[in-house]
């Protein structure tokens, strides 16, 4: 399996990273990856330094030095793992189908938009419309969240370290100790992430978005 590291070069424009997925880059050489087109007039070589480690146990992509200009990271990912050591732009992990996406920095707007499965873990802050129209899966944010959190969210779990602003279409279900969190936290322990340190099973549960299906939950971790 290959672990591909993409180190971002300084850019003055937004970069659409949706094609740079672990499964899409598997088996490709550095030359093949650098030649890939990100837009009509933009190739990977223009915006990333590429290195490939073929001794990895699992397919993975690591983005380094990225900023809010790097959008659509992990878009539609179906397997493997993506690590973002810097910040990420809008639509981080949008339409995620499976796999694990860890962002150590901040994410832009619409993180986890229409996500269906898998885990999106943001160690920094998330922008507006985080988890919008999310269909299922687990989205964690250790920092703060922006406006319209979980807008149109149908199912799935939004795990937060900080209490979000109250919203009319999200209903407070009170405080609970949930046994499944132990299993979820156990799966975090395998990851190189601050999420591995989360241990409290005590949460405040909100359900929403009542403007739609209303079967999603926000779990705010209690100290």
């Amino acid at each position: 399996m290959s672990h591909i590291t993409l180190t971002a070069k300084a850019v003055a424009r937004s970069v659409d990273c949706r094609t740079l997925l672990p499964q899409a880059l598997q088996g490709k050489t550095v030359a093949e990856i650098t030649a890939m087109k990100l837009a009509a007039n933009l190739s990977v070589a223009d915006v990333f330094e590429v290195s490939v480690d073929t001794t990895s146990e699992a397919p993975a992509v690591t983005f380094k030095n990225t900023t809010s200009a790097h959008q659509y990271i992990g878009f539609g990912m179906t397997s493997g793992q993506i690590n973002v050591t810097g910040d990420a732009g809008d639509f981080l992990g949008a339409q995620l189908q499976n796999g694990v996406l860890i962002c150590k920095g901040n994410a832009g707007a619409r993180a986890g938009d229409r996500m269906r499965r898998g885990m999106l873990l943001i160690e920094g802050n998330a922008g507006d419309y985080c988890a919008s129209d999310m269909m299922a899966g687990t989205l964690g944010v250790l920092g703060t969240t922006g406006a319209y959190l979980g807008y149109g969210m149908k199912r799935g779990t939004l795990l937060l370290a900080n209490t979000p602003a109250a919203q009319a279409t999200w209903i407070d279900c009170g405080f609970h100790t949930l046994p499944f969190l132990n299993i979820l936290y156990k799966s975090f322990k395998r990851l190189d992430s601050r999420f591995a340190q989360v241990s409290s099973q005590r949460v405040q549960r909100w359900m929403g978005d009542m403007g739609g299906l209303g079967k999603a939950e926000i779990l705010v971790i209690q100290p």
Binding site: R155, H176, P179, I183, K186, S187, R190
Partner: protein
């Protein structure tokens, strides 16, 4: 063959192909794990009347369970996959779902996965929540969270079903009921230390061994009169005048080796009491060798000819 003055008959136990599964039950503490597991494995001594044969395999420490709580592993066996699936679902619904703080997880991997909480989830009446979480090896497992009055009932969606063997057995023949029971208790204590087997009868011991058929046309099994001490002289008895009591230990396991090893451990423990404590003979139950697919020959097993 004689061990510590106890004669080992040159005979064999006749066992059958079964389907088996393992379930891990956890709870807030072992007391409640036992409450759940005892209910689930209750009335599961024999497939003849109970549908399944089930028992507690062993205790699990918090490190060994998926949710980090203390628990128990339970083995369940049936003659066919359909009955096993049916019984597992019924017992999950009536014994685990109902037990405060209890949760259930798959205890065995197999290509044949059967429902653990897959259908039970509908008890949630639409409020049930599915979570797919990777296990230690990164493989995704699906769990169901079902809202119940004590909080949330957590169960894995499926568990594995494997080919297994049921009906390994041996008989302990001795001078008195009390002495034979003491020997059987020692045997059960030794056998419970071993993995992949359960002894489904009360306390692991059965006193009403049966033979095929009966004088009554509607009965397909009846008392094993050849081993009933009060019928010595009346029927064609297997017992000599000294024997006043016979008890049987039945063992079900995942493989032939598992059963053979546990039978060896059990017989050796029973024989340790020896002739001076009223244990005279060890025999085994069979149907002439024509019904069961597996024959556990006592003497080769005790000579250590079967190893894992």
């Amino acid at each position: 063959m004689v061990i510590n003055g106890v004669e080992i008959d040159d005979t064999f136990a006749e066992a059958f192909n079964m389907r088996g599964t393992r379930i891990l039950i956890t709870a807030q503490n072992l007391r409640w794990a036992y409450n759940a597991a005892n209910a689930m494995t209750g009335f599961a001594t024999s497939v003849i009347g109970c549908g399944v044969e089930a028992g507690i395999e062993r205790e699990l420490t918090a490190d060994e369970t998926p949710d980090g709580r203390p628990g128990l592993s339970v083995l369940m066996f049936a003659m066919g996959s359909k009955v096993l699936m049916q019984q597992l679902e019924t017992r999950m619904g009536q014994c685990i779902l109902t037990c405060p703080t209890a949760a259930a997880f798959a205890g065995i991997e197999s290509e044949d996965m059967i429902s653990l909480g897959k259908h039970l989830r509908f008890f949630g009446d639409g409020h049930q929540v599915s979570k797919q979480i990777p296990d230690a090896s990164g493989k995704l497992k699906r769990y169901w969270r079902i809202p119940v009055m004590d909080g949330e009932f957590l169960t894995e969606e499926t568990t594995g079903m494997v080919r297994a063997i049921g009906g390994g057995n041996f008989l302990v023949l001795g001078a008195s009921q009390a002495q034979v029971l003491t020997a059987c208790e020692a045997a059960i204590d030794a056998m419970r230390k071993l993995p992949n087997v359960i002894m489904p009868f009360p306390g692991g011991v059965v006193r009403s061994g049966s033979k095929v058929g009966s004088k009554y046309p509607k009965m397909f099994a009846s008392t094993n009169d050849a081993f009933c001490p009060t019928l010595k002289g009346v029927v064609k008895s297997e017992l000599d005048p000294r024997v006043e009591s016979v008890m049987e230990i039945v063992v079900n396991g995942l493989t032939f080796e598992d059963i053979a090893i546990s039978m060896k451990a059990g017989i050796e423990a029973a024989c340790r009491l020896g002739k001076e404590n009223g244990i005279f003979r060890v025999s085994a139950g069979n149907y002439g060798g024509k019904l069961g697919q597996h024959h556990f020959k006592l003497r080769p097993i005790l000579s250590g000819e079967v190893t894992a």
